[in-house]
C-alpha cells in the first residue's frame, strides 16, 4: 500500500509539474476570462440592466454557475491557485537541474561532448602552450575573461558570460507568483469604497461597494473643493483640500487632484467626482421694511438659519425647493435638479404674534409676501458642492509592484541576455604526433548571432597563430644571436 501511495503521489506531482497541465490551465483561464467579458458582470452592471438583458431562467442559470461574476467566483480563484501551484511545481521540478548547471559550470569538455558540440573548429598548432596563449588573447580582445582549467590529466581554457541567464525564467515565474500573492492579499484584506463630502464636512464613514459601511479609525474633512474648466467648458481639473483628523487633531493636509491621491495609514483617497449637491450653502437677501421707514439690510441664510431683522422680527429659511411647481395652492417639488428654484422663508413678528410665509419667487395664493413687515429680495443663491472620493485599502499592492519590476528584469534577462560559453582544448594526435587546438562554443539562445561571434573568435585565433612565428620578439632575438 505504501508503495502504491508513493506511486500515486509521484504521478500526481509529475502531472502538476508538466508543461501540458500548465498549458491546459492557461487555456482554461483564457476561455473563462473571455466569457467574463462577454456575459454582463454583476459588480459593474445595474440590476435592472441585467434583468432586461437575460430572461429570468437564463439569469438564474448564469448566477448559479457564477458566470455573472466570473472574476470573484470561487472556481476562478481556484483556477488561479491551480495555475500558481503548477508554476511552483514546474519550477521546483526543473530548478535543481538548472541550479546544478548554474552552480557547477561545465568547464572541461570531454571527448564525447567535443564530438557532438556545435559550433566547433580545430586549428593546427605548433605546441600546446602557443595555441592556448593565442586563444586567451583572442578571448580577451572579445571582452571575455578566460580561465585556465588544469586537471590531473588534461587542461584547457574556459570562458563564459551571463551565466545568470540560465536562471532568468525562474525570476519571471517568481515575479508572477509575487503578483498573484499581492492580489490575493488584496482580495482578502483589501477593500474599496466611496466617500462623499460637502465642503466643510467631516466624515469617517466609507460606503463599501456591496452597500455596507466601514468606519475608519480617523476622519477626513474637506476644507474646499473645486473645478477648473477649459475654455470650451469641459472640465480640466478637479481638486479637493483634504485634512486627516485623528483624535481631534489635524494630522495631515493635502490638496488632491485626479491622479494624485492622499495616502494615510494605508488608505488612499482619490479624487473621483465633483458637483453640486443640490443643497443651498447660502441664500443672500436684501430685507427692506414694508412701511418704507428704516434701513435696508443684507442678510445671508443657510437652510434652517434664523436671523433677527429688528428687535421683534426674525426671519427663518424654512425650505428650499430646487425645482418647484404650484398646484391647488400647494408648492410641489418636481425634481431635485436645480431647474426652477424656490425658497420658503418665514418672517415672525412677536408684536403681531404672527408668522408670514414669504416665497421667493412670489406666488399668489400661497405666499403672504405683501403682508410681511419686511420685503425680501434675493440677490444671490450660493449652492453647496460635494467632492466624491474613491477610498481604497490595498495592502497587497507592494507585492504587485515589486512583482512587476522583477518581471521586467526577468524578461530582459530571458530575452536579451545570452549565456555564452567557449572551451579551448589542445588535442594531441597520438598517430601523427601533431597538435591541434579544439575550439567549441555554446549559447542558450540567439544561436545565429552567437555563431557569428564564434567565427570572429576563430578568425582572431587563426591570425594570432600565424603572426606568432614571424613577430615573436624572442625568436627574432634568437635568430640574431645565432649569427
Amino acid at each position: 500500500m505504501a508503495l502504491d501511495f508513493r506511486a500515486v503521489a509521484h504521478k500526481t506531482w509529475r502531472t502538476i509539474a508538466s508543461i501540458q497541465t500548465g498549458v491546459v490551465l492557461l487555456i482554461l483561464v483564457v476561455i473563462l476570462a473571455a466569457v467574463g467579458t462577454i456575459v454582463l458582470q454583476r459588480p459593474v452592471t445595474e440590476p435592472d440592466e441585467m434583468q432586461s438583458a437575460y430572461s429570468p431562467q437564463a439569469l438564474r442559470i448564469l448566477d448559479t454557475l457564477g458566470l455573472t461574476d466570473v472574476f470573484h467566483s470561487w472556481w476562478f480563484l481556484g483556477l488561479m491557485l491551480l495555475v500558481s501551484l503548477c508554476i511552483v511545481a514546474a519550477s521546483i521540478d526543473r530548478f535543481p537541474n538548472s541550479w546544478r548547471y548554474f552552480s557547477r559550470p561545465y568547464k572541461y569538455p570531454d571527448a564525447s561532448f567535443r564530438r557532438a558540440s556545435h559550433p566547433q573548429k580545430s586549428l593546427a598548432i605548433a605546441d600546446e602552450e602557443s595555441g592556448l596563449v593565442a586563444a586567451e588573447r583572442a578571448l580577451h580582445s572579445l571582452g571575455f575573461k578566460p580561465e585556465r582549467v588544469v586537471r590531473e590529466d588534461h587542461f584547457g581554457i574556459f570562458a563564459e558570460r551571463h551565466r545568470i541567464s540560465e536562471l532568468a525564467v525562474y525570476i519571471v515565474h517568481a515575479s508572477l507568483l509575487l503578483i498573484f500573492f499581492g492580489t490575493i492579499v488584496d482580495g482578502i484584506w483589501g477593500w474599496r469604497g466611496y466617500l462623499s463630502l460637502n465642503e466643510g464636512q467631516t466624515s469617517n464613514l466609507v460606503e463599501i461597494r456591496d452597500g455596507s459601511k466601514r468606519t475608519l479609525p480617523f476622519a477626513i474633512r474637506c476644507d474646499a473643493a473645486g473645478q477648473e474648466n477649459y475654455k470650451d467648458g469641459t472640465p480640466k481639473k478637479w481638486w479637493s483640500k483634504l485634512a486627516v483628523v485623528e483624535d481631534g487633531r489635524d494630522v495631515q493636509k493635502k490638496e488632491i487632484v485626479v491622479n494624485d491621491p492622499l495616502l494615510y495609514s494605508g488608505v488612499r483617497f482619490y479624487q473621483s467626482s465633483y458637483g453640486p449637491n443640490g443643497k443651498v450653502d447660502k441664500l443672500l437677501l436684501v430685507a427692506a421694511p414694508s412701511n418704507g421707514s428704516g434701513q435696508k439690510q443684507d442678510i445671508g441664510l443657510a437652510v434652517n438659519d434664523t436671523v433677527p431683522l429688528d428687535a421683534d422680527t426674525t426671519v427663518r429659511f424654512a425650505e428650499f425647493i430646487p425645482d418647484f411647481a404650484v398646484r391647488d395652492g400647494q408648492v410641489y417639488r418636481k425634481s431635485n435638479q436645480l431647474e426652477n428654484p424656490a425658497a420658503h422663508l418665514v418672517v415672525t413678528s412677536k408684536k403681531a404674534g404672527k408668522d408670514f410665509d414669504v416665497w421667493i419667487p412670489a406666488m399668489d395664493g400661497v405666499a403672504d409676501n405683501s403682508k410681511s413687515p419686511y420685503q425680501l429680495q434675493a440677490t444671490d443663491l450660493k449652492m453647496g458642492y460635494f467632492t466624491g472620493l474613491q477610498v481604497s485599502h490595498e495592502p497587497g499592492q507592494w507585492g504587485v509592484w515589486s512583482g512587476v519590476v522583477l518581471m521586467g528584469i526577468g524578461l530582459a534577462f530571458v530575452f536579451y541576455v545570452v549565456h555564452m560559453r567557449f572551451w579551448v582544448v589542445p588535442v594531441h594526435d597520438a598517430k601523427t604526433g601533431k597538435y591541434s587546438l579544439w575550439i567549441g562554443g555554446s549559447a542558450n539562445r540567439n544561436r545565429d548571432a552567437f555563431e557569428q561571434r564564434f567565427n570572429d573568435l576563430v578568425v582572431l585565433v587563426e591570425e594570432d597563430l600565424k603572426s606568432i612565428p614571424r613577430t615573436s620578439p624572442r625568436e627574432q632575438v634568437a635568430t640574431v644571436a645565432g649569427h
Binding site: V23, V44, T234, V258, N259, V404, M407, G408, F415
Partner: protein
C-alpha cells in the same frame, strides 16, 4: 523602370496640387498638409512595394524605401505638430493613436527591410499604413482638451507601449504569413483563409447593421460638433441608409462563394472546383470594390431617416471608421490572395528562407512580449493612480491579459516543447487575431472603463 517613373510622376503631381492648395491657404506646415504629404509618400511606397511583389524588380525597393523614409519624416512632423498644438503627447483619441501606430509600422518596415532583408514586407505593411492615414483624414478631429483622468504621464507611457507592442505583433503576423508561403502551404489553403476573413467582415457588418427593408444602420454624425450623435449617455443615434443593406448581403454571399467552392473541392476531391473558386475571388473583388464605392458615396453625406427619432439626420464616414476599415481590409486581403495566386514562384524567390522567417517571427514576438508586459503594467499603475485599483477586470484589461497569455503560451511551447515552423506560425497568427480583437473588437463590442479609446 516604368513603374518608378509613373509613381514619381504621380507623387510630383500630387505634391504640386497640394502645393497649390497651400499657396491658396497660405499655411505651409500645418498638420493636414503634413499628413497629406505622408499619405502621398506612403501611397507611392505602397505602389512600388506592390510592384516589387508582383514583378520582383529589385530596383523598385530602393525607391520604395526612399518614399517610406520621406513619408516617415512627414509623419513624424505631423506628430510633433500635433504634440505642440495639444501640449500633450498625441495619444488620447483613436485619431492620435492611429498617428503613432502608422509611424511605428513605417519604422518597423524599414527595420525589417534594412536589418533582416525582408524586402517584400512593405507589400503588406504599407497598404495597412495607407488605410491608417486615410482613416486619419476622416477622423481628423480638433485638439480636444484632456479630461482630468487622462492627464497623466503614465497614460502616455501606456499608450506608446501599446502601439509599439501592437505594431510588433502586426509584424510578427506578416512574417508568420510569409513563413507559411515559404513553407509550401497550399495556395488553396490561403484561398480558404482569405475568403473566410472577408466573409467574417461582411457577416459581422450584415448581422449587426442590417435593417428592415434592406437598409444599413450607421451612426448619425453631427458635422458642426464633429462628433457622433447621442440620444442619451452612451446611446448612439443610428440612421438607416436604404438599399446598402441588400448590397452588403449580396456581397456577403459572393465572398462566401470561394469558400464554398473550396469546401466542395475538398469534399468531392475535385480540383476543378478550385478554378471556379479562383474565379469567384475575382468576382468578389469586383463586388467588394463596388460595395466600398457605394458605401463611400452614400455614407459620406446625405440625410437619412432614423428608427429611433423623427426627421432626417446626416451621417459621415467618420462615424463608421470600423465598417470602412473592414471594407477596405476585405478588398486588400482578397488582392493579397490574387498576388499570391499569380506570383507564387516569384514570391518564393523574393522572400527569405522559411527557416529565417521562422526565426525572425520568434524574434519579433520576443520584442512584442516584454512590450505587452510593460504596457499592461503601466496601464495598471495608471489605473491605480486614477481609480484606486490596479486591476478591475474591465473588458479591455481582461483581453490585454488574454493577449499576454496567448503569447506566453507561444513562448512556452517554443522554448520548452521546441515548437517550430507551422505550429508556431499558426500561434503567431492566432496571437495577432486576439490583438486585433482587443484593439477593435473590445472598443466596439464590449465597452467598459476604456471609453476614451
Amino acid at each position: 523602370m516604368t513603374l518608378i517613373v509613373l509613381v514619381g510622376l504621380a507623387i510630383a503631381f500630387l505634391l504640386f496640387m497640394a502645393f497649390l492648395n497651400v499657396v491658396k491657404s497660405g499655411n505651409l506646415l500645418n498638420e493636414t498638409n503634413l499628413l497629406f504629404a505622408a499619405l502621398i509618400f506612403y501611397a507611392g511606397a505602397g505602389a512600388l512595394y506592390l510592384g516589387f511583389g508582383v514583378t520582383g524588380t529589385e530596383s523598385y525597393v530602393k525607391f520604395a524605401s526612399l518614399a517610406t523614409w520621406l513619408g516617415l519624416i512627414a509623419n513624424t512632423a505631423a506628430i510633433a505638430h500635433r504634440w505642440y498644438e495639444a501640449g500633450h503627447a498625441p495619444f488620447s483619441s483613436v485619431y492620435e493613436m492611429l498617428l503613432s501606430f502608422v509611424w511605428t509600422l513605417a519604422v518597423l518596415t524599414l527595420v525589417a527591410e534594412k536589418k533582416y532583408g525582408v524586402k517584400v514586407i512593405g507589400t503588406i505593411t504599407m497598404p495597412v499604413a495607407i488605410v491608417g492615414v486615410v482613416l486619419m483624414q476622416l477622423l481628423r478631429t480638433e485638439v480636444h482638451p484632456l479630461v482630468p483622468a487622462l492627464q497623466s504621464t503614465w497614460l502616455h507611457v501606456h499608450v506608446t507601449l501599446a502601439m509599439l507592442a501592437y505594431a510588433a505583433c502586426a509584424l510578427s503576423f506578416a512574417l508568420a504569413a510569409m513563413f507559411l508561403i515559404q513553407d509550401n502551404m497550399k495556395t488553396e489553403t490561403f484561398l480558404a483563409v482569405t475568403s473566410a476573413s472577408t466573409l467574417a467582415i461582411y457577416a459581422s457588418v450584415v448581422l449587426t447593421r442590417f435593417e428592415k427593408w434592406g437598409g444599413l444602420s450607421l451612426v448619425a454624425w453631427n458635422p458642426e460638433q464633429k462628433s457622433e450623435v447621442f440620444l442619451s449617455r452612451g446611446v448612439r443615434l443610428f440612421v438607416t441608409v436604404p438599399d446598402l443593406g441588400w448590397l452588403m448581403t449580396l456581397t456577403l454571399f459572393v465572398v462566401a462563394a470561394p469558400l464554398a467552392f473550396y469546401g466542395l473541392a475538398r469534399w468531392k476531391k475535385d480540383e476543378s472546383f478550385l478554378t471556379l473558386a479562383n474565379r469567384a475571388v475575382f468576382l468578389s473583388i469586383l463586388l467588394q470594390v463596388m460595395t466600398l464605392a457605394m458605401f463611400l458615396v452614400r455614407a459620406n453625406d446625405g440625410r437619412y431617416p432614423s428608427l429611433d427619432a423623427d426627421g432626417l439626420f446626416p451621417t459621415s464616414l467618420a462615424a463608421s471608421p470600423f465598417i470602412l476599415s473592414g471594407l477596405v481590409g476585405g478588398v486588400f486581403i482578397s488582392l493579397l490572395y490574387l498576388l499570391l495566386l499569380w506570383r507564387r514562384q516569384d514570391l518564393g524567390r523574393l522572400l527569405p528562407s522559411a527557416e529565417n522567417l521562422d526565426r525572425i517571427t520568434y524574434k519579433t514576438i520576443c520584442l512584442a512580449f516584454p512590450l505587452l508586459t510593460l504596457m499592461i503594467a503601466s496601464g495598471a499603475y495608471w489605473a491605480n493612480q486614477t481609480w484606486g485599483s490596479y486591476w478591475s477586470w474591465d473588458p479591455k484589461e481582461t483581453w490585454a491579459a488574454i493577449t499576454w497569455l496567448v503569447y506566453a503560451l507561444y513562448l512556452h511551447m517554443r522554448i520548452t516543447r521546441g515548437w517550430r515552423g507551422r505550429r508556431a506560425a499558426y500561434f503567431a497568427i492566432a496571437g495577432f487575431a486576439v490583438v486585433m480583437f482587443t484593439f477593435f473588437g473590445v472598443t466596439y463590442l464590449l465597452p467598459g472603463l476604456h471609453a476614451y479609446a
